[in-house]
Amino acid sequence: MSHDHDHTDPPADIALRVKALESLLVEKGLVNPAALDAIIETYEHRVGPRNGARVVARAWTDPEFKAALLEDASAAVAELGYEGRQGEHLQVVENTPELHNLVVCTLCSCYPWTVLGLPPVWYKSAPYRARAVSEPHSVLAEFGTHLPASTRIQVWDSTSEMRYLVLPMRPAGAEDFDEEALQSLVTRNAMIGVEQVSMPGRG
């Protein structure tokens, strides 16, 4: 690749603009740098899709927990220690052989932060937000997901502060797996609904 000496290259420019804004806000006493670090630490390392995987594996192995989760998801996941911003009004939607659930926010990027962390780039992208409600089969196909013709798709457009987490189906062959082994099978994408959970090596 040839050298690019274009000094108006947007990424460099935006990095500088953000740095300048941060300095301005710190100088004016409007933000506390330690608070910024705490926010980043929370979402880079503590709150992420492993939370959701633990919720799903627990629901697969504990019928009482699953019933509580489907009844009042915010309360059920709070018992596992997952509560807070963008998870105040959580709903769990269950996949079955007859029904497959898919979550989108067509207007912005609403997402259940407490159990999945921050959304991936594709979830926030224009094509996903545009097509998930109008052509979900082609969206799923792009993720390599092909459902039987007998499975009906339900799309959840989260326009409000309600947040949706998909409870995927436990894959065939994982009957003997314990909760920890099950957790490792659960992907973030399956909890958004663009994939199903599969056994290792059968991706």
Partner: protein, 219 residues
Amino acid sequence: MFGPHDLGGKQGLGPIDPESESTEPVFHAQWEQRVFALTLATGMLGRWNIDESRFARERQHPVDYLQNSYYENWLAGLQTLLVEKGLISHEELGSRQGAAETVDDSLRVPDEATAAKLLRGGGPTLLPAEQEPAFAQGARVRVLKRYTSGHSRAPGYAQGAVGSIARQWGSHIFPDANAAGSRRGEHLYSVRFSAASLWGEAEDVDVFIDLWEPYLELA
């Protein structure tokens, strides 16, 4: 408003092209991290709410909104709010030179512990409405056409379509009013639409949309 953010059903935007889940980082550059944290931290000053924050991003020029990356839109919205709410001046933003410290005794700037507490506490949006819910479970409802210059959470693709009330979610802060600085509760419903009612000839799919009572009428 029918802004560029209202993307449901838009065509010609190309493939989604997702990054692999196993390798995608939480942030793709350090500046994204900083924009995210600055947005949350300044939001904690309590000078604006989440709907004002969304509206500030949506009312950019459509070309800018669609060309920007996600966190560029966050940055644009943040700058708009900081200036409109008088926390920084347009000149300071332009020159990027720090002026005098903001003198405002009512501002409480969260420290590390307060920020962590606020993230953990979240912000539930339940708020009683003045009247009982107008629509029962199963009722057939039509989404009203709304041409407004303000913020709204009624997606354009659903306007005029007929669906049925699938769930009552209780009464929540009404975003349209909240974005204009007035806080009131309205009943919120999950409304089920067949894809055919939204798109005409379509796949055999149901779309559930969360819609507030003022967006709906009995069909």
